[in-house]
Amino acid sequence: MPGPALTDPDGSWRVAADIGGTFTDVIALGPGGRVVPVKVLSTPPDFGSGVLGGTRAALSAADALPHQVTAMLHATTVATNAILEMRGARTALVTTRGFRDVLELGRLRRPLLYDLSWQRPVPLVPRRHRYEIDQRITADGRLEPPADSAELARVAAEIRAEGLEAVAVCLINSYVRPEEERRVAAELRALLPGAYVTASVDITPQMQEYERTSTAVVNSYVGPQVHDYVTALGAGLREAGVSAPLMIMQSSGGLLDAPSVVGRPVQIIESGPAAGVIAVRKLSQLMGLDSVVAFDMGGTTAKASLIENGEPFVAGDYEVGGGMNITRGMGKGAGYALRVPSIDIAEVGAGGGSVISTDVAGSLRVGPESAGSRPGPACYGNGGTSPTLTDANVVLGYLSSQALAGGRVTIEPDLARQAIAPVAQDLGVDIPAAARGAYEVAVSSMTKAVKAVTSERGRDPREAVMVAFGGAGPLYGAAIARELGIDTVIVPVHTGLFSSLGLLVADTERQAVVPHRADLDALDLLGAEFDRMAKEVTEALREAAPSAHTEVQRVFDMRYRGQRFELSVTVPDGKLDPGLMASVRQRFHAEHHRTYGRAGTDELVEIVNLRVRGRVRNPVSVERLLSLPQSAPRAETTRGCRFDRTEPTPVIPRAALSPEPRQGPLVIEDMDATTLVPPAATAHRDRFNNIVISWTTTVPEATP
């Protein structure tokens, strides 16, 4: 099948669509770097119609014709929503006799220590639909006994009788002998035409039965919906005259053709957040930045990730459906475990809608409750009365009454003040002081997310540059950077749409992983396995992008013997010989030392997984997207903004900022976001039209 064109012919357009909770953003990129953004209301549950409507609207606004679209790029929440709303397929699990409860037991831990009302997330397959079969793969790979076809036929009959639409197969020790599990899956597929069948080893061929089972179950649970969604959207696009292939963003940060996604939908769970990180990745490569913190804040959550030398960190394990990200690190057990490559993003429940509260002992809290988009912050005038961060930002003078969603949402400052008043009363301070307090608390909680991806990994945030984006990111970026000693904060153009921009510039990617086995001990065998994997991903990518060149990257997941957590080490190009391996081990020791402050000896190093990433580069440079959006010239105004004290603060459009640094305080208003430059910082506009905030002055913030 055809893939995205390598170079865009004249008059061609690329369209990106990113679904959010309230709005769907569609961006068309045309000749000469023309960027036409359109924001339409999302259309749950049929999100596809919003995408189609937005695409038509964008093309019409651009005066472009559907057949001129050469690439249709998409970040979708369809898989995530199926899980969060428990609306996935009715799914069966087929597993080894004695182990049907592995899925429900999980790892036994709970995310909060003292909460005796805790409930485990409802298993995606109820116990009655978990079928045990009399087969066993031993730890050394013998079949004692193999799965019996007659029994599989009986199980299939039960699954059919129950009317189940999807099946996940995960056998104990299948990672040692994947072909046995594939055989079981193939037989079930033949017996159950129309059912969506996943073999766990096809998604994650690694040890640990719970993580593998859970991943396979999630894949099957969301599979039919993703299939239907992608099929309907593809048909709708063709009907609308768009014949370009649909490409979807994976959690790992690469685009993949829709037909391939249908086979591994578990890989698109974090589609939207990954797109944002990729936008920052491309910007950091363009600007030649070594170390970049991507900071994205919207209405309900804030997300941070680290990009080093142009590459984001990829995590092998995460959880979905656990509410906000208390699932990171020590808090596992809140959601459903997934073992697929995903950009490592730390998330906290802080967004414009986060609710501000106090308690009997006089502490000030922000979140975790959120006013959501309905009724939303009190100042929206939709009947909300809970004080939120957005209300605080209005009280503080940071947000004007026309500042949100391009003026679509009108803000009523009196309602914001009324909402914050009880908080101020509880704390015994005036209303602006309470609002400023909430701002600072939010900053500290988001600082934790940035630390999780930097200092907790042995990376000094002071060596990084921050790129702040999302609707609320530029209001907080400078303050968070100050906390962490980050000197420079970049606020790119199209800030509120920046995630969607990532789709336009993302590469197409496929990954393969196999666990290290005893029979791979010889270097030539290891090299041959890498070659086989490279061929596999290259061929798969050729289907999606026939004429393109595939770059192949080889990675070992390594650890010291006995450890349960791995570090990824890139293997240099070249023949896998003792010299190359020595340099790989050297890299591992160095990375371990950097991350954890110590390193061990060569004898203790073991290889856990082999990974191969194939990548087809996107022909579009992010530079094309960075022209200043057209807007009517506006005069500079001034309003009072509260920092440690209230200061008269100039309010200007981005276009009014020059390459010459201007001293804060300053409020810079774009169509879709507001950037706050605190008093002691400076801001200028660089040649990419970024707002660049600098903390390089050593003057402390003014104190009252």
Binding site: R110, Y114, R120, P126, R127, T138, Y596
Partner: protein
């Protein structure tokens, strides 16, 4: 209402966020760098930060029963080294009579100084090491009768002296344990965590100043104290007594009583264990610190989870703990299996608090994680230890069922993956899951028992099991029935079937099969008032059998899997009363 302790709410919350995040960062460091299965997979370790006078400021999301014992360990270190603490020092201890809990739990504590040599506080870590020597692999055998049989005893000691590691001291420890590489690796993980905590605390001091940090710590302690006092003030005054038991000491003793009277007066709470058992002959003896620690966990669970756990939380709480009792063993009594005591203390204290907080306190759960340690001695004389920890059920809650298969309140342990156990080549796991009809019936059902079946592949292994709740079952509340017993069965379903004691060290030969079953949780409320749809769901899921549904819940389920409404109405009207 109590006076508010906080001078600047925003600064306070900012600090609280930072310091709790730092404690978790320490824990993550241990998790990611540890070498043993019990630490890296089961997560049997804890981390915390203390202030300069040794008070706990912040805890990581780790094991509650460890965390409450930290003040005692800190006290022992300060007594031994308080005058001579230097930057770069690290102290070790595991001696239960000098600040420790039981020998496998080794504390590593590092002081933190500013660059100007001002003492800021301490990074504290405690890890349950896989083996610290003694007569039985794993060093936690119930049948130990003296601490001298349980392994290497480490009084508060200086492992690192101003940055220099005492190699002789470490070599002595390593020579006395079965898995020296693992102990060294896990200890290094502790040191890495101490380092991370220290660096973070220094940053916080740079930001707030040393005096500012001290003031914020006072506020943090006062904050927890205020929240706890305010919750206690709302609770009805009175004295609430409860009694529970450990079945036996593993060496033929009669049932071991735990008696508590919890007295709430105004905004204070007193816990009095008078009348509980004297210390026992086996290793089921706790320390006073551990008894307090378990009580803190129970009280915090009953009050809800919002109050930050730190030394301020402990202030409104006082204790009477008898000397030379099972709650406070006297040297040289053995302490290795004292974990079980903590879980029973939690059950007993929660039982006493049930009438005080009837909408929050659950029925009893499985009574503690059952531990199974498998020792395999190789031909070269080295011994491997495989740890398996089985957690069963939570008791039913006042408004919802107990959780089926989860770590108990006192701990937050993970299971060891079946595939990981099998990779050792020494055992095969034949099944791991729930058993039906094991959750105590109630309006809300208790959690189900978990079983694990294991076949021995190695020529011989020694299996050391610590379990309980075989004769004294998890209690129900408000008309809910009690849970079901735990069991150990050798070669189940064969002519060689043999019921093993709950607490046992047993040699098994290749081909022998062992089944362990954890206890089922107690029920809450009258089972005949349980929503029939919930009963039906349990029947369809095989968690309750149809006959038990009729017998225990008065709900008649047809063979087609539907509720027989008329029969159910009749059955329930006839009642069991």
């Amino acid at each position: 209402m109590s006076p508010r302790p906080i001078s600047d709410a925003a600064t306070f919350e900012v600090y609280r966020n930072a310091v709790t995040g730092l404690a978790d960062e320490m824990a993550i460091t241990i998790l990611r760098t540890a070498h043993s299965q019990i630490v890296a997979s089961s997560m049997d370790f804890s981390a915390a930060l203390c202030d300069a006078s040794g008070r706990v400021i912040a805890q990581a999301n780790t094991c509650p029963v460890h965390l409450g014992s930290i003040p005692e360990a800190m006290g022992a270190v300060l007594t031994a080294f308080g005058d001579s603490v230097r930057p770069g020092d690290v102290y070790l201890l595991n001696d239960p009579d000098l600040g420790g809990m039981h020998l496998p739990d080794i504390f590593a504590i590092a002081p933190v100084f500013t660059s100007g040599q001002e003492l800021l506080g301490y990074s504290v870590t405690v890890v349950n090491h896989v083996d610290v020597g003694g007569w039985a692999a794993g060093s936690m055998a119930v049948q130990s009768t003296s601490i001298f049989a349980e392994g290497v005893q480490i009084p508060p000691s200086r492992l690192c002296d101003a940055g220099t590691l005492n190699e002789t001291f470490l070599a002595l420890i390593l020579r006395n344990v079965r898995e020296p590489d693992l102990l060294r690796g896990d200890l290094e993980a502790q040191l890495a965590a101490c380092h991370a905590g220290g660096e973070g605390l220094k940053e916080l001091a740079e930001r707030h100043g040393t005096d500012g940090l001290a003031a914020l710590n006072e506020e943090l302690l006062a904050y927890s104290e205020t929240l706890l006092r305010s919750a206690l003030a709302e609770a009805p005054d009175g004295a609430y007594a409860f009694e529970d038991f450990i079945d036996d000491d593993g060496m033929g003793s009669p049932p071991i009583p735990f008696r508590v009277t919890v007295t709430i007066t105004g905004d204070t709470l007193h816990v009095d264990f008078t009348g509980s058992s004297p210390q026992v002959a086996s290793a089921l003896n706790a320390t006073e610190s551990f008894t307090r620690s378990a009580s803190y966990a129970a009280i915090q669970g009953a009050l809800g989870s919002d109050i930050p756990a730190n030394s301020g939380f402990y202030r409104p709480l006082t204790f009477t703990i008898p000397e030379a009792s099972i709650l406070n063993g006297r040297r040289p009594s053995a302490r290795g299996a004292r974990g079980l005591v903590a879980y029973r203390i939690i059950d007993t204290v929660l039982g006493a608090l049930a009438p005080v907080f009837p909408d929050r306190v659950p029925a009893a759960g499985d009574g503690g994680p059952d531990s199974v340690a498998i020792g395999i001695t190789g031909e070269n004389g080295t011994t491997n230890v495989l740890w398996d920890i089985l957690c069963g059920a939570w008791g039913a809650r006042p408004d919802r069922d107990g959780v089926d298969g989860v770590s108990p309140l006192g701990a937050n342990l993970a299971n060891v993956p079946v595939e990981e156990l099998e990779q050792s080549g020494h055992v095969r796991i034949d099944g791991y899951g729930y058993l039906p009809d094991t959750g105590g019936p109630g309006r809300w059902r208790g959690g189900l028992s978990t079983f694990r079946d294991m076949t021995v592949l190695a020529p011989t292994v020694s299996v050391q099991i610590r379990s309980d709740r075989r004769t004294h079952l998890p209690y129900g509340l408000q008309g809910g029935a009690q849970g079901t017993p735990s069991s150990n069965i050798l070669n189940p379903g064969t002519p060689l079937e043999q019921i093993l004691p709950a607490k046992v060290v047993q040699l098994l030969a290749a081909g022998e099969r062992h089944r362990h079953v954890t206890a089922g949780g107690g029920g809450h409320g009258d089972p005949f008032t349980r929503d029939p749809d919930r009963v039906l769901r349990d029947v369809l899921d095989g968690k309750v059998t149809a006959s038990a549904a009729t017998r225990d819940y008065g709900v008649v389920v047809t063979p087609e899997g539907a509720i027989d409404t008329a029969a159910t109405r009749r059955r329930r009207a006839a009642g069991r009363h």
